[in-house]
């Protein structure tokens, strides 16, 4: 039975390899700053997250071309957590302890963020999270560059209630059955109630992940809409949007009758849809590709050139969207904060992040709140055009401060708008 001998050798060599690998980080101390990129490149979330990896790499390339940060080049460490939530935590730990990255840009779904959060808190890492989310969280180690519910959902509903938006009286809250839609709809329900909408005029509906048959749902929406001017608020996630919109178009539910406003549908998601029957349906974001301003024009050009150079899939029709903009802002703000702090030390960078500003492609000067780790963002409502782009039909007067703890959820009035471990300075 030589086999056992072999097993033993295998075990031994594995142990040796483990020790060896564990120690390489020590000797790899070069003159670069390592930056982690933690986005799923395979599995169900790859469809959304791949472009965020690309835009982050583009930003790193740009920063390096301009001389890097503190005289050092940035070195991206790209890992693939494969849309697997425990793997997210494992990879986060690897980035922080093995690769010793100064900062990590990553995550898309709430569950992935929740999965890595304890790791970042334990090891005092720094995470930039670029996607709109449900709020109800604040961590000293995370900067949220996406929108909180009051920077996306509530303005959208206010718009639909206004005369210009169609003065909707009845509401269908439609979502995929998980935390972000549930939370958003809970906040929206409380908000609608505060505006005098009765419970019978709100219909909440959920579908399972990956649902692809929206016949019944669309028929139900039609039936509900017979009872008065109705708007649909969609928090349908990812892949399910295409079948949903195709069904909407084919069943002839027009935006002039029942407008659908979506919070997870951007230019990238509409890439796979024929938008002609969808003209007039809405999305609420903090950035649209169609926005006209010099910063955005330059950014789009840069992205198109980068996509072409790297031969990215979809380079023939380069698209930008809101999370990409948020990721872009995040990495640049981090760079500015490092330069201000003159170190990549996490605590000092966190302190330097407060009040950072950056000229965002959306046309405003985005500011990191002094306290709550969220960006001040202007909110735009866009209508779908036949070419797959959005036209901004409404926008907030100026940037809106994020409310990670929604006042429409009971008990949140007592929360302070700042993560623990820092002193509160009242205005």
């Amino acid at each position: 039975m030589k086999r056992r001998m072999f097993v033993k050798q295998l075990a031994l060599s594995a142990a040796v390899a483990a020790i060896g690998l564990g120690s390489t980080a020590l000797y790899a101390q070069a003159k670069t700053i390592k930056v982690g990129v933690l986005h799923s490149l395979s599995g169900t979330m790859a469809i959304s997250e791949t472009v965020l990896k690309d835009v982050t790499l583009m930003a790193i390339e740009e920063i390096n071309a301009k001389g890097g940060v503190l005289g050092m080049k940035l070195e991206p460490v790209v890992v693939d957590p494969a849309s697997n939530w425990p793997l997210f935590a494992e990879k986060a730990r690897q980035l922080l302890t093995q690769d010793k990255v100064a900062v990590t840009f990553g995550c898309w779904t709430s569950v992935s963020r929740k999965s890595v959060l304890p790791v970042f808190e334990e090891l005092n890492g720094l995470l930039f999270y670029p996607v709109q989310y449900e709020g109800e969280e604040l961590s000293k180690n995370v900067f949220y560059t996406g929108a909180a519910p009051n920077q996306q959902a509530i303005p959208a509903v206010e718009y639909l209630m206004s005369k210009e938006g169609g003065a909707a009286k009845r509401w269908v809250l439609l979502g995929t059955d998980y935390v972000y839609p549930r939370t958003t709809n809970k906040i929206l329900r409380a908000f609608l109630k505060s505006k005098g909408v009765a419970d019978k005029d709100i219909d909440e509906k959920y579908t399972p992940f990956g649902h692809s048959d929206y016949q019944t749902i669309v028929a139900d929406v039609k039936k509900f809409a017979a009872g008065g001017k109705t708007a649909v608020v969609s928090t349908i996630n990812g892949d399910s949007n295409v079948p949903f919109y195709k069904e909407l178009g084919n069943q002839g539910l027009k935006a002039t009758d029942v407008p659908v406003v979506a919070f997870s549908v951007g230019e990238e998601e509409l890439r796979g849809v024929d938008t002609k029957p969808l003209v007039g349906h809405l999305a609420a974001w903090n950035y649209f590709m169609s926005q006209k301003n010099p910063t955005n024009d330059a950014w789009k050009k840069q992205w198109a050139a980068y996509a072409k150079k790297m031969k990215l899939a979809g380079a023939d029709k380069p698209l930008t969207n809101d999370p990409m903009e948020a990721a872009w802002i995040g990495i640049h703000m981090w760079k500015q904060a490092v330069e201000k702090a003159k170190t990549t030390d996490v605590d000092k960078v966190i302190a330097a992040m407060a009040g950072q500003t950056f000229k965002a492609p959306s046309g405003i000067t985005s500011k990191m709140d002094e306290k709550n780790h969220h960006l001040h963002k202007a909110v735009y409502i866009g209508e779908v055009q036949a070419n797959g782009q959005f036209n901004v039909v409404w926008q907030t007067k100026g940037p809106v401060k994020a409310e990670p703890w929604s006042p429409f959820i009971a008990g949140n009035d007592k929360k302070k708008g700042e993560p623990d471990g820092k002193t509160i300075i009242t205005k």
Partner: protein, 528 residues
């Protein structure tokens, strides 16, 4: 609705004037309120040019360049106010943005204008548009249109609209007549109107003081509700058949590769995906030609061939070596599926790609108001039927089919009588894969096309095949339709999430009762 009053004025007006530049500018540069005012003014101007301008605005052909408002058709532009040609086409142009509110007003205005069109279809469409957007101000206009209307269909719609409008005003007789007319409606919106009459106010009295009207409303409501209920039933029936046909398409290929050949093909979903991406590629080839609407005719055989080719290659390279080890095919095909997904992701990117419906497959057939059967789904149901018939013919009427059945039933014996079993395996696997490709082609019309497309159908496909009974085509058909119905009926009752769970639990229990599926192959062996 000021516009509608002005429209009725315009109907009697005559003579043509040049368009007022200020009004046109308002339409081009103004905000929502100004645009709506401009639309009203334009209708009032009573110029065919105004109608043309509104039509251009509806079609999204209105653009601005500097201070000019242009109607741009292709590469040609005319000044919207003067009608003069603008050459050359200005470089810096911007679309005139209409939001939903303006678009709705525009729709109403256009519909009202079109009510006097000589073309019946135009009038019908306009009348339909108005049933949802009726307004008191329209009444005289509709009455006038009704007086000259000869077509029964248009007339009925207009009468309905009229009844809706007269419900609140007019004499008792006219109101009772209106309520009676509403009883003939098929529009769910009407129900709310009738319910409004019957509603009890807070003080205990009725919203409608006249009892006769209330009695009539009750009758009409009953008739209407009956009709709506039938419409709803028809809707559920259709959605169930549609879901069933999709499940059937997805599972048919598997019924061959798994059911007949015993290969647990975890890459089945990816073969569906190959079909869908082939459709995408074919569509792109057709995009530059004039025959775009017919790309599906090429895409159907192409997706069959592409998926069949991939399938046959897999059979030759991998699965061939695993016959007799069915559970291990699971492992190898799982590996294949991972590689296929990543290949597609590398070539086409991780994002979804866009597959457009041909024009004839967009929109739907309206059974009743509100119950729409999308053409794409009707086509898919027919397509699934055709594939099924084709497969049945192939298996029962051709030599290959005979061989496949022979190999399925008794491989050594078939081999003994000279059936080239190895080649039959390859062809049968190719056939199953090709049908998966066809499913992909069909699915691309209603769902998304992305690398993960196959993953979402693989579990469902296996459920269908196993529920129907392995090796049984009839079972597959019954199982697919049965699951379609079960899913849709439960969804209407308990929501989509619980419906899906209930169906899965049902499958578990069913298999306990009939461990070989609905249609078990009868045999003497205790072991199947």
């Amino acid at each position: 609705m000021r516009i509608l009053l002005t429209i009725s004025l315009w109907l009697f007006a005559s003579g043509a004037f040049a368009l007022d530049a200020a009004t046109v500018n308002k339409l081009g540069f103004g905000d929502g309120d100004e645009k709506i005012a401009a639309i009203a003014a334009l209708v009032a101007e009573g110029d065919p040019a105004a109608a043309a301008l509104l039509q251009a605005a509806t079609d999204g052909e209105l653009q601005t360049a500097g201070k000019l408002v242009l109607i741009v058709k292709g590469e040609e532009a005319v000044n919207a106010a003067t009608g003069a040609k603008v050459t050359p086409l200005p470089e810096e142009r911007e679309d005139v943005i209409l939001n939903n509110r303006v678009r709705r007003e525009l729709g109403g205005a256009m519909a009202a204008l079109k009510l006097i069109s000589p073309d019946r279809a135009t009038r019908l469409a306009a009348a339909k548009e108005l049933t949802g957007n009726a307004d008191q101000a329209m009444l005289p206009l509709i009455k006038k249109a009704l007086a000259s209307e000869t077509d029964a269909g248009v007339k009925q719609l207009l009468e309905l609209t009229q009844a809706t409008l007269e419900l609140k005003t007019g004499t008792k007789e006219s109101r009772i007549a209106a309520v009676r007319t509403l009883g003939l409606s098929t529009n769910p919106n009407t129900k709310m109107l009738l319910l409004g009459i019957l509603e009890k106010s807070k003080e205990g009295g009725y919203a409608e003081p006249d009892e006769d009207i209330r009695i009539e409303a009750q009758k009409s409501l009953k008739a209407l509700e009956g009709r709506l209920a039938w419409g709803e039933r028809a809707g559920v029936l259709f959605t169930s058949v549609s879901l069933g046909s999709i499940l059937l398409l997805a599972a048919l290929g598997l019924a061959i590769t798994y059911g007949l050949m015993g290969v647990i093909n975890m890459a089945h979903g990816e073969l569906i995906m190959v079909g869908a991406y082939t459709t995408y590629v074919v569509q792109n080839l057709f995009k530059r030609t004039d025959f775009f609407d017919w790309y599906l005719l090429a895409a159907v055989p192409a997706s069959f061939i592409a998926a069949a080719a991939v399938g046959m290659a897999l059979e030759r390279l991998v699965i061939r070596w695993l016959y007799g080890r069915p559970l291990e095919t699971l492992l190898a095909t799982w590996g294949i599926s991972l590689m296929l997904i990543q290949t597609v992701r590398t070539i086409f990117g991780a994002q979804n790609v866009q597959v457009e419906n041909p024009a004839f497959m967009s929109g739907g057939m309206e059974l009743l108001t509100g119950v729409v059967m999308p053409w794409s789904r009707i086509v898919i149901i027919c397509f699934a039927g055709a594939v099924l018939v084709g497969m049945w013919l192939l298996l029962t009427k051709t030599r290959l089919g005979l061989f496949v059945r022979a190999v399925t039933q008794n491989r050594p014996m078939a081999s003994c009588v000279g059936v080239p079993t190895a080649r039959v395996d390859t062809w049968a696997f190719g056939l199953g894969s090709g049908i998966a490709g066809l499913a992909g082609c069909a699915l691309s019309q209603i769902g998304n096309v992305g690398p993960d497309l196959g993953q979402s159908y693989i579990v469902d496909s296996f459920m269908v095949v196993v529920l129907g009974g392995v090796g049984q085509l009839a079972g597959t058909v019954y199982a697919a339709l049965g699951l379609g119905f079960a899913n849709k009926l439960l969804e209407a009752w308990q929501g989509a999430v619980l419906a899906k769970i209930a169906v899965l639990v049902f499958i578990i229990f069913f298999i306990q009762k009939r461990p070989q599926g609905m249609f078990a192959l009868r045999g003497r062996a205790l072991d199947a």
